[in-house]
Symmetry: D2
């Protein structure tokens, strides 16, 4: 069994450079905080951002990535469709994907879900309680029945996603809403986990329970056979299987 | 309660014009056979085909469509992406969609599923048995435990789809394969049913059990509130809900 | 298509007789209020209660019941196991079952779920908001995005149930909890819907949205082919199928 | 991370003693073959059988069991209901359970499923092909698209189970049937996996792919936090949470 995963932490990394308020919370970018925790877990972590060539997600980088985490917000439309194609193909081939917060509207998440992924939101710094509704699920490991995020951006139902394969978390908001805040999916050979808490102007990604969830999610979405063995292209390709596996008498209608 | 649905039966309708063998089985097109059965059920049915302007799927037509059925095969790539966008939006708004056989590779099905929708296939005219694995599901109404399609095109696993919300049928093939041949999905406010039996050179769409399944599927995917009331745009739009529903004390962090 | 269902509304009907506070809210029993609404919908409704012979659920009554609704609270243990067996068998045969509020701890619900069905609760008359998370589901028909129950008993997560086939409602509580308050299941040929709002000392069953949900649930759990045709015993019985459907050469190992 | 699981392999162990044909295939009992493979994987394995006191499943044994595997056939009714209660409680608390072949009719499986678990069967030694329909699932690790069991007992649909949380395998039978042969469930904090191949008169449990699936299943159903840490009772108990987590103004209706 391998002792680490090869994780690529992706961040749009635009508003950290532009908004003083955001920079004051995440001076080196949101990706730096997420990557820091995953490195502390012993994973082999690299980061990639929107303004790098190919958004830092070259074929070579993705081929060496077991798990990709995704944070985007104000520039979803600037992500090149060819890179989205590439990431989707890798997920269907087995690469894990963890989508965070405003990544619900990213091209890659909408592509994999097939729905609008729309939701309701509100930014007044209200309280959120994240409840575990699937206590046996690996992404809930180490958590209690619920935990509090003192100040959050509200994300509220209806959330236009396919029903998750497993609903792991449901959030309560002080202002009256609920939200399916932890959603687990299998797509092709790859696993996808969406986790809604997190915001660019609030120090949510420094909170220990939030980091625990992200770390758990990275482990859960990891491909089978990870990662000492080079991950082969395992996509479910399909094809023309001209010969039957069992004898079929001549039907006269071929 | 309304007595009928407004159904649009879509067909690529290319190879019926080109291949004598196909024309001999479906002289007026596959859509004519499907529409015939649905009309006999009392529905208000129109047909639409690829080579019509906007593929026959104008905004006006879709606005008056409760359920769309889809048959395509050799020209999936000729379907305009803008029409795919339009159909997807209508499904998320509540329009039902029934996808047939080789429609598994249509742009609209792949768009709604988010996966490759690849499968294995073989054309030797072997036997297929369609087994009901969800006997209480409305799409299985009126069927026995299984039924036989004497000569079929084999579609085999692995089939690269999201796990269906409900798996209704599993097919057995003489040549040794199995296939999830009846798959029910909710996407947004719309329902989608995929049914794999059917082929352009075989008279499968004339078979009574197959027609029964398609008729059941059309009823099952029908939107709520159908259709005497004009169907409003009911898409789960989401948006900025600036004010909380419950009192939230000043948090000092807005 | 039939114009009505044969519904049996079951109530423990004990504390209405004992507690003045409860009698003042439901003077003729909770079943009378539920039955009243369903009769207004045109259904053929009878009621049955714990202290009747066989709890009012004889073989004959169940054979003529398309949908059973269940309300119990303080006397779950007084329900005869043989009657539970009988109801379970009928559900697996296709009879619909709607389980209300404290019925989560009834023998029949626990039997059908296979889990403890435990939850957390609190009675301080706090506010509940019921959110629709499956807007296209028939049990949500006619509802908006959410509705308020002004004073409720809190039922909170973790709720020890199998993940529902479809999660329709999630409730928000003023005191900080969330709850999966509307859960849809298929069991055998029968459908089961659990709906948590409702309490014996609060007039929740008089509220129009709550009555709407119960009415929707009764329609949704109705068996296929209902009910003009006598409902046959349709249980999935299984059995020794001695002869193969397809030719199997002598294997030498029979 | 622990290096092994504490596995208890349970076997009815009756017909191996009585039928010469069965003894010739499994001279030391089916449990011996299953335990042998799991020991080779490095797990700490004990066996338990029906005719031991408390069927070998004392409170002490279960408290030290991370994963229980179950094989029963002709004496399901001889299993004491109190032991079934005990096993069910441990599963809901987090112990994994792997149910094999004719264990579909065991009291513990029926208890956890809530349905009849009936199916169709035939014993003519026909061929079975086990197809992987969830290629990314851990229980399918190391397998190809399908594998063949040369001679098998047919188990056929309809199989009266709740729809699995994940359907991993579907089997094809030479005689014309299909079967959901690998079914994954979460129940409480515990995981349950049902795997249908295996028979007392056929050497199926010696086949490498079958052993691989059982070994995978044992790993997949293992409880979180396994097992160096003593597994606490983690059942979702529920209870009276008298005080709200958030301030609730006096409602006047307590």
């Amino acid at each position: 069994m391998p002792e680490f995963l090869r994780v690529t932490v992706w961040n749009e990394f635009r508003h950290e450079k532009v908004h003083e308020k955001i920079r004051s919370v995440y001076p080196e970018g949101i990706h730096a905080v997420i990557a820091g925790r995953l490195r502390a877990d012993g994973h082999q972590v690299r980061t990639a951002t929107l303004d790098e060539p190919e958004h830092g997600l070259t074929e070579a980088v993705l081929a060496e990535t077991d798990v990709l985490t995704w944070w985007g917000h104000m520039a979803h439309h600037d992500v090149d469709d060819r890179i989205v194609d590439r990431v989707q193909k890798r997920v269907l081939d087995g690469m894990g994907l963890v989508v965070l917060h405003s990544g619900h509207f990213s091209k890659i998440f909408r592509r994999l879900m097939g729905t609008s992924c729309a939701l309701n939101w509100r930014e007044i710094g209200e309280k959120e309680r994240v409840w575990v509704v699937a206590p046996g699920h690996p992404v809930a490991a180490g958590l209690g029945e619920s935990f509090v995020i003192p100040h959050t951006e509200m994300y509220g139902e209806p959330f236009d996603i396919p029903a998750p394969d497993t609903l792991v978390f449901v959030s309560w908001f002080q202002g009256g809403e609920v939200f399916r805040s932890g959603c687990a999916y299998q797509r092709g050979r790859g696993k996808v986990f969406y986790f809604s808490p997190g915001h660019e102007t609030l120090p949510i990604y420094y909170q220990s329970e939030v980091q625990q969830v992200i770390a758990n999610a990275v482990n859960w979405v990891a491909p089978l056979g990870w990662p000492a063995v080079p991950v082969p292209s395992t996509r479910i390709g399909g094809g023309h299987r001209t010969e039957p596996l069992e004898d079929v008498p001549d039907t006269g209608v071929r």
